[in-house]
């Protein structure tokens, strides 16, 4: 199938629509015995039209299972230390390191060293904690924005917001997003766990005050340029631990991280009697296409809206 060369250029070009050629219909066009009328078609979930794509989807899921099998092998590398100043965590697998880096070093507030899972949450934190204008405004209006992207609710206090998150968005009652930086010195395995355990409500008392509050030791940050409010701003700056990684052996594994237990090969008796199975190429009846119309043809009078009722039988 040869495509005109200009097509690729068009794809890369500016958005726009073609100025339509004049439409001029002759009523004789739809006179019996001819009956063609252009109409958009919709298919409901169980329709046979979807068979091919569904089968391919399931083959894919089965393939992933076959490929991954049990727990994936984790390539080991010679032990190395996290390069971020003040952090002494040691690793022997790149995957663990990348995870550690992202969780604890990436979205870090340069004012108070708290770490956040995402740029969005970091931004929110900075606004609420380190912006004096915010505090002033908060006295007069609802400033605490719901943390769920897409929800536009705002609240007077952090506690109100937390309640909204729990009641409306079903957050765990003891959630927290911020993580403290680790203290200087050899890593105490208990430290991070301690925070996590508290977060999970071990102490039985919901954290007071702000949902994102934390209190722990902090470490001097790596020197940041003056005026730079966050530990990262643009991707180029600090988006990856590449500097550290550059020293490591280049065996970044290729993995498809989908947990192993998915659909497996069916153990049906393939030799048993089965229905005629049409192959994907040409055997299936083209009548398949004629089912399921959407609204009736648009010409002439006002469109009627055919909604949830679908005509399976063809016309």
């Amino acid at each position: 199938m040869q495509l005109p060369p200009a097509l690729h250029a068009r794809l890369a070009g500016a958005p726009g629509s073609a100025e339509p050629l004049p439409v001029e219909r002759d009523p004789a066009a739809r006179t019996a015995p001819f009956r063609f009328a252009p109409r958009p078609v919709r298919f409901p979930r169980e329709h046979d039209f979807f068979e091919e794509g569904d089968v391919q989807r399931h083959l894919y899921l089965q393939d992933v299972l076959m490929q991954v099998g049990g727990a994936p092998e984790r390539p080991r590398v010679p032990e190395f230390t996290c390069q971020v100043a003040g952090c002494c965590q040691v690793f022997d697998a790149l995957e663990d390191y990348e995870h550690h880096y992202h969780t604890l070093h990436r979205n870090v507030c340069s004012f108070c060293k708290r770490a956040f899972p995402s740029g969005h949450l970091l931004d929110t934190h900075i606004l609420e904690w380190h912006d004096s204008l915010f505090q002033i405004l908060a006295e007069r209006q609802d400033m605490y924005q719901c943390l769920v992207e897409g929800c536009t609710e705002k609240f007077r206090t952090s506690r109100d917001r937390k309640e909204h998150l729990v009641m409306r968005h079903l957050y765990p009652a003891d959630f927290r997003f911020d993580k403290p930086r680790k203290s200087r010195g050899p890593v105490m395995p208990g430290a991070a766990e301690q925070v996590l355990a508290e977060a999970l409500g071990d102490d039985g008392v919901p954290s007071e005050g702000d949902a994102m509050e934390v209190c722990s030791e902090h470490v001097e940050p790596p020197p940041v340029p003056a005026g730079e409010r966050r530990a990262y701003s643009h991707r180029e700056m600090n988006s990856c631990p590449s500097a550290a990684l550059a020293q490591l052996p280049r065996i970044w594994p290729e993995r498809y991280h989908l947990p192993s237990v998915l659909v497996k090969v069916p153990r049906e008796d393939l030799k048993g009697p089965r229905r005629e199975i049409s192959t994907s190429n040409g055997g299936s009846s083209a009548a398949l296409w004629r089912c399921c119309r959407a609204s009736p043809p648009r010409h002439g009078g006002p469109r009627t809206l055919a909604r949830a009722t679908l005509h399976v039988a063809g016309l």
Binding site: P33, F43, P172
Partner: protein
Amino acid sequence: MWSRQRGRLKPLCCGVEELRCRRREREAALRKARREQQLVSKRLLRDEALEEAEEGCVAMIFGEAEIQQFLQLAQRGTEEKEREGALVSLRRGLQRPETQQTFIRLEGSIRTLVGLLTSNQALLQLEAARCLHELSHSEQSAVVEACLPATSYLLTYLSGHSSDFISPHLTVLEALGYALSQLLQAKEAPEKIIPSVLGSTLPQHMLQLLQPGPKLNLGVAVEFAWCLHYIICSQVNNALLITQGALSTLGLLLLDLAGAVQRTEDAGLELLACPVLRCLSNLLTEAAAEAVGGQLQLRDERVVAALFILLQFLLQKQPSLLPEGLWLLNNLTANSPSFCTSLLSLDLIEPLLHLLSVSNVVSVLVLTVLCNVAEKGPAYCQRLWPGPLLSSLLDTLAFSDTEVVGQSLELLQLLFLYQPGAAQAFLQQSGLQALQRHEEVAQLQDRVHALQQTALHG
């Protein structure tokens, strides 16, 4: 952005031919399952041999006390290996429906799982994601529904990551998407589950995960695109999705996909193309898809360019998905003079004709799209003529499939009506003989005779 991290392939211990044969068998089995309405990917089909070989034990049923123990160990154990091991044991247990039930009824269990899914320990996160996967396979919708409330929280937690470096997060996201897609496939989904999903912020999250850009991850996008497909084809409230920008997001994604197929070889892009094509096609049938004045909201002609690039890709890679692409083309062109004009001005008629020999379904679709163009009048037919169209039509008249021939007759009639000289040319190329063959076919007779009359007498 488009590079997909593949699973590590086990060493091949059999030939390529044998693999192909096995794949055909699997395909046939899946087709059968679908026709019997059993193709729900949540059905865990245990391959005992594989399980035992790799894990050396059969899943046991765990009671409350045991589950509690595992959870506590996972949460508070001192040794990383110990914590991981506890989750592995739990995950195995969760293969049994009895254990699943016990798990969801145990107070705080989901919450603990959510905590582990957001752990700062990669391995724990991964194992927790596997547990979520197990739960999402449950035949019992109560089990899967129990996992649903955590989704909003988890998506907020996970939504800020960069795709390049946070593999455990990606795993959790994929697991979430997959779990959600299982839930949405349930029989009762349209009545019970989809309305509440639509009432939450989940659709917005999903659309965000489908935005093209540096953060787009193929594996994650595939899962959530399928989620969106299950929601849309259930036709609960598609208008809402349109107001949330679904058409524009999916349109942009289509453009991005077309760009990607030109650059990347064998990245599994058809896995994403399929649900995207379906979502767009179904959404276009909604009244809400039209702006004021009857024009489609989705108007950008680059969508047509992208679609053809994808059609070419599918022709190479997965011809069985061509009907889905052509379905979108039909829905784009049916009521849009602008898109019909694009087909002409971008020189896409000939590539379209090229697809006529692929299969009957594809041929009917191609002819339908051509009819969409031709029925708009003389200005359009003029641009279809002369060219390879006539000889292609004479070819399709030789098909035995009634639908294909029927659609060819419809197109011929439009050409005879709007394009002077068409009937003449048809006669000169032995068109009458081509028609004769179908004179006795009930479904075609009337139209055949009418065309014969028109050709002969004008």
